[in-house]
Amino acid sequence: MIDLNELLKNLISAPGLSGYESPVRTLIEQAWQPLTDELHISRLGSLHGLRRGSLTEPRPSVLISAHMDAIGLMVKGLVGEFLRLTQIGGVDARILPGQAVTVHGRQDLPGVIVQPPAHLLPQPYHEAAVPLEYLLVDTGLTAQELARQVRVGDLVSFAQAPLTLAGDAIAGHTLDNRVSVVALTACLELLQKRLLAWDVWAVASAQEEETLGGAFTSGFQLRPSLAIAVDVTFAASPGSPSHNTYPLGKGITLGWGPNIHAGVFRAFEELAKKLEIPYAVEVIPRHSGTDGYALQVVAEGIPTMVIGIPLRYMHTPVETVSMKDVRRAGRLLAEFITTLDETFLEKLSWDA
């Protein structure tokens, strides 16, 4: 039995910024090795794990995508003993001042993001939120040493250590979207002892936070009959409106909207009810902001589903998730996959 809490803490302790996922990919590979028949790496660096099904070939396949890349920062320039930053993925600069970071230079260096004194900032920002371009990183090194260790293009990741909170919750950076990778791992573990009709592709995708590049290219390469994106969604928390957030620890979300195939949604909803897995319908009027947005329009089109795991404080170093919801997601995915048989596709329709 995999200790999912430990797995999650390990995964978020490894860097894996968009475009530079290899450190975390190595850990995921290790976790998936005993759970899959084959493992490959795509040309963009996504990880593909195959569990072969038993139907005669050509067999239908289902692809489950959980992006492994994380948002973070990159060194844009060196100014004496300080570093200037640019962002990778969507970073709210207001959470940066005072944050502990790791600068991945010629070796890993501890650093702090600092807000310069007001008189050293442009007038509008003396009292207001300071944009990223005016923040700096101080590593404590001299200018000379810094120039030896760090160069333009080096990555900077958050250094907040994971915390275990009350109620089987974990807080840390990069839970978006490592929690989904953990859910997918849990799913693979549950499937180990089950007989599968369809092929199952577990994909830890690259570059979701920047271009959805992993989803587009893995979808094209693998051409599944069905695609499921697993990502975090907004959990209710102070300051977030209640009409489009979901309570933490009280269930996962099933996406509903143009990005989701209505027939696949209905199959998931029926199953969740049957298994008494608590869920909420997440209405998504336009695009889902997940790998699902890319997967649906790959090649000739793929029937797509989006599953959400509620998360508080998304894109901050103190993202918070309930492990109960992570396990629920893993279980629902596994059970759904075991219902896929040779009649599923011919019965699948948008119109009920």
Binding site: H243, N244, W256, G257, P258, N259, H261, A262, V281, V283, P285, R286, H287, Q296, V297, V298, A299, E300, G301, I302, P303, S349, W350, D351
Partner: protein, 355 residues
């Protein structure tokens, strides 16, 4: 080719009426899909519904050396989606596709396949201040109300404006003329398709939210060329100060609108030329749609695979994406006539030299 061989008959008006009355918002095109599939069955050589809900119909030609021509008409309309139940029959909603929030307050809506009636209310004027009335009502502040017992609708249902379709003299009035006009035209073209082409007619989904249906259909079909049939704004109203209107986009009554460029596509000049020359030769009224903003299914199509030469031809329509759009019967007729004539005159020689 007699220029009025394709006239708008009463049966087509009835068809357009039933199409306009359907509630089929992007991602939920089922009601229109049903009508279209019914109409296509006797005419298509092959028919299929793909992973996104597009209808792909093929009508093969008979001549030698035929071009494979993809033509699209999107089935979806802009509308609303119920997002949150506030109790007492009141729902929060969000827009699907681009809708100006100033078009919403005080309107009636139809919800779901049942066309359950609802209203988007507004505060009584008596209870507002002058200052308040100067501020725009955002979607955030508006609600759909189905009545105190609530009941028949649920979160996730789609809704559209509840405008009955009418013929008014030379004009047509209704909601979703964008793009039920295009759907009606494409259905007619399949019935009348000329022998020199294989017509790959695609009734697409989700055009209003990024040409998503057209994208995958184009990849699947990989045609020689593609034509999107749609509607385009006619902004030909007077200015508040009577200054000349230089950004009218198209004008009602001036004929089929041929696109040179919009925000999503720089159209293939060979196709623009072919259609303009056909219109001139047959005296079919046409206009060049002003370049600038906007987009059609062609935006997604031309970028597929190794590139697909594409064109858009549209019926000019006033007040698109509002409760009541207005078009001229003559523009519908001329767009249909131009498409048919230009299609009949397409030869592989058109694409022989580079664009």
């Amino acid at each position: 080719m007699p220029k009025n061989s394709l006239t708008i008959r009463a049966s087509q008006l009835k068809l357009l009426e039933s199409l306009c009355h359907a509630v089929a918002v992007s991602g939920d095109e089922g009601e229109v899909r049903k009508i279209v599939l019914e109409r296509l069955k006797p005419h298509a050589d092959s028919l299929k519904v793909d992973a996104l809900g597009n209808i792909l119909a093929v009508k093969n030609g008979t001549a030698d050396n035929r071009l494979r021509v993809m033509m699209t008409a999107h089935m979806d309309e802009v509308g609303f989606m119920l997002t949150h139940d506030e109790g007492d029959g009141i729902y929060r909603f969000d827009t699907v596709g681009h809708v100006d929030p100033r078009q919403l307050a005080g309107k009636a809506v139809w919800i779901g396949r049942e066309h359950t009636p609802g209203v988007i209310g507004a505060k009584p004027i008596h209870l507002t201040t002058a200052e308040e009335r100067r501020r725009m009502l955002e979607v955030e502040n508006l609600r759909i109300d189905v009545g105190p017992e609530g009941g028949k609708v649920k979160v996730g249902d789609r809704a559209t404006f509840a405008t009955p379709f009418r013929r008014v003299g030379p004009s047509l009035l209704g909601k979703a003329l964008d793009n039920r006009l295009g759907v009606a035209i494409l259905l007619e073209l399949i019935e009348q398709s000329p022998p020199n082409v294989d017509l790959l007619a695609v009734f697409t989904v989700q055009e209003e939210i990024g040409g998503r249906g057209a994208r995958v259909a184009a990849f699947a079909l990989d045609p020689h060329l593609a034509i999107a049939v749609d509607t385009t704004p006619a902004r030909d109203l007077p200015a508040w100060d009577d200054s000349p209107n230089q950004a009218y986009n198209t004008r009602l009554g001036a004929g089929a609108a041929i696109y040179v460029a919009d925000a999503a596509t720089l159209y293939d000049p060979r196709l623009v030329r072919h259609f303009a020359e056909t219109a001139q030769a047959l005296s079919i009224p046409y206009q060049i749609r002003q370049p600038g903003s906007g987009g059609t299914d062609a935006g997604a199509i031309h970028r597929q695979r190794a590139g697909i030469p594409s064109l858009s031809v549209s019926v000019p329509v006033r007040y698109l994406h509002t409760a009541a759009s207005l078009a001229r019967l003559s523009d519908w007729q001329n767009t249909l006539a131009l498409l048919h004539a230009a299609l009949s005159r397409l030869t592989p020689a058109l694409l022989a030299s580079p664009r």
